[in-house]
């Protein structure tokens, strides 16, 4: 057969069989996503704005559901009524400090902390955020309450200091109020400590001056930090790639498109499917033990389970095993096998024929977490898993 025809002709003919026209709904969805996405500004070119929250391009209702879910789930201060437009619509900066330049790349991220009640701010206790713009010349806080975002331009004045200038007047401070801060990162760049050395706007000092931890749920150039899109939060140290995170209910995937496809997936309370071939997606009930999770795969002939080993992750009992979807599984050959889903997620996760998951099931207090590092066999897998702190409490000062 092959001898009479050129291999190139055959493969080109085969490639030509695939569709070459983008579906109209896909194009419409793209244009819709673009409409909702601010364009990045070139560095050092005009007014800054904060990095867009848009991370993965999700389509239609699914995206709306996810965003809505995240908004509902995200814990807020009892006094928090911060306008979402507070950061992105900030006006151009006042005159910057004389030294110019951009802050260290490692600071350009979203940071979390836990604010205690403050009579000066009139806020309750709860998680708070600090976001440095990706362009490196702006910073603002959120969740401290209305008027306490203190969006400011930021200008480095030495290797570990920067100067802030308030971009617009706030409740107690005037536009242009300056403050000088010293910053210090932990060795793994997961924690940031800000110390005010001089501050014309004292309430900004109360808000900014504290210990912060890097959020891996927002875009970040470094991989050590916390995932707080689920309850409880956990801390993990990933390799130093740039990451983007996708979240669903009780699911987070911190992925690095630039890091060789490296990713960490985390699932809270994973449940299995009764029939790995059925699109009905009937679920087995959740059982908060790692052993019961693996027993499903051991007793379902669609999967092959490697040796189940017991280990300890951050003091929790955990089990590890490789689970492989069988190739040419007789009941649904050439079809993906339904594997698991977080109990609270209206989603499913599947494995293709021959695909293997290296699964770590961690038993918490009445819950379990499933962690999977990709790609399979990654050299970083062990160090990533060993770095997990579950649960992780935000710094309070």
């Amino acid at each position: 057969m092959t001898a009479n025809r050129d291999f190139t002709d055959i493969t080109r003919a085969w490639l030509d069989l695939m569709p070459s026209e983008a579906p109209d709904r896909a194009v419409a969805s793209i244009l819709q996503a673009v409409d909702a996405t601010p364009q990045a500004k070139p560095r050092l070119a005009g007014p800054w704005r904060f990095s867009p929250m848009f991370r993965f391009a999700l389509v239609g209702a699914a995206a709306i559901a996810i965003v809505a879910g995240a908004l509902v789930l995200y814990p807020r201060l009892k006094t928090d009524v911060s306008s979402p437009s507070e950061s992105p619509t900030i006006s151009p900066s006042p005159t910057l400090g004389s030294s110019g330049g951009e802050i260290d790349d490692a600071l350009r991220a979203t940071w979390r902390s836990f604010a205690l009640e403050s009579p000066a701010l009139g806020n309750g206790a709860g998680p708070v955020s600090l976001e440095f713009s990706q362009a490196g010349n702006g910073v603002a806080a959120s969740n401290f309450g209305p008027g306490y975002g203190f969006a400011s331009t930021v200008t480095p004045i030495s290797a570990d200091r920067f100067e802030l200038a308030l971009a617009q007047p706030s409740l107690s401070c005037a536009a242009g109020d300056r403050g000088t801060y010293r910053w210090q990162l932990s060795a793994d760049r997961s924690e940031l400590t800000l110390t005010a050395e001089a501050e014309a706007c004292s309430t900004r000092g109360i808000v900014f001056q504290r210990r912060w931890v890097r959020s891996l749920v927002e875009a970040t150039s470094y991989g050590a930090g916390i995932v707080d899109s689920m309850e409880p939060s956990f801390r993990v140290a990933l390799p130093d790639y740039s990451f983007q995170t996708r979240t669903l209910n009780d699911f987070a995937e911190i992925a690095s498109p630039d890091g060789g496809g490296f990713s960490l997936m985390a699932f809270k309370n994973p449940v299995t499917f009764v029939d790995p071939c059925s699109a009905d997606e009937e679920r087995n009930p959740f059982t908060p033990t790692a052993a019961s999770f693996f027993e499903h795969f051991q007793t379902t002939d669609a999967f092959t389970v490697g040796e189940v080993t017991e280990l300890s992750i951050d003091g929790h009992r955990a089990l590890h095993a490789d689970v492989t979807g069988k190739e040419n599984y007789a009941r649904c050959p050439d079809h993906p096998l339904y594997q698991y889903t977080p109990e609270r997620c209206g989603c499913h996760f599947i494995v293709g024929p021959g695909g293997t998951d290296s699964m770590y099931l961690v038993e918490g207090d009445g819950y379990t977490f499933l962690f999977i590092v990709s790609p399979y066999g990654s050299a970083s897998e062990q160090s990533v898993i060993e770095s997990i702190q579950l649960p992780y409490g935000l710094p309070t000062q």
């Binding site: 055959i10 030509d16 569709p19 896909a26 992925a255 979807g325 599947i350």
Partner: protein, 182 residues
């Protein structure tokens, strides 16, 4: 197109919409061939074009727009293939009772063999193969597009070709055997 790129680079959404309409078919064709999955290809296309919109102000040479977009697309394909790692071995299989290829060049059995073999090749190898055989790009341009050394591009093309050729040859073997028996 350069004018559209310049306008879009300055924030003109209508100009960018025109660019989307002008390029989306070509980009989608690449993505479907690399990923072998229509849904993943749509996601990759969307990811690439949204990234392109965001990052367009950083593109200095408007004439490089399509090559730049192709690079974003291939990286979006990598991300899609790995976002759900198992998807790399989980691409949708084309229906086996579909049409035979142009001019009867490819049989259903061959197509199935190629599909199966391609699924066993990594997404990086697939990208090189598709850019070379579908777009006809030379290896040097592929290497530039993907940001890899030319030798790596050559190696990936060689490996992917070997895998697919072996699949077709294996498929041909029984026929040859039967011929001898006859």
């Amino acid at each position: 197109m350069d004018d559209l790129v310049v306008r879009a680079r300055n924030g003109d959404r209508e100009a960018f919409a025109a660019l989307v309409n002008a390029t989306s078919d070509r980009m989608y064709a690449i993505a479907t061939r690399i990923l072998r999955d229509a849904d993943l290809a749509e996601d990759a296309l969307q990811g690439a074009l949204v990234t392109a919109w965001r990052q367009l102000p950083t593109l200095r040479d408007p004439a490089r727009f399509e090559a730049w977009l192709r690079k974003l697309l291939v990286h979006a394909c990598y991300a899609e293939a790995r976002r759900r790692r198992s998807w790399s071995t989980n691409v949708r299989v084309l229906p086996v009772d579909g049409p035979v290829g142009p001019d009867g060049l490819i049989s259903i059995v061959e197509r199935d063999a190629l599909d199966r073999a391609f699924r066993r090749v990594s997404v990086e190898h697939r990208a090189v193969f598709v850019l070379h055989h579908h777009l006809g790009l030379p290896l040097t341009e592929i290497a530039e597009t993907l940001g890899i050394p030319a030798g790596t591009a050559r190696s990936r093309l060689h490996y992917a070709t070997r895998m697919l050729r072996a699949a077709i040859d294996a498929d041909a073997a029984p026929a040859i055997s039967e011929g001898r028996m006859a």
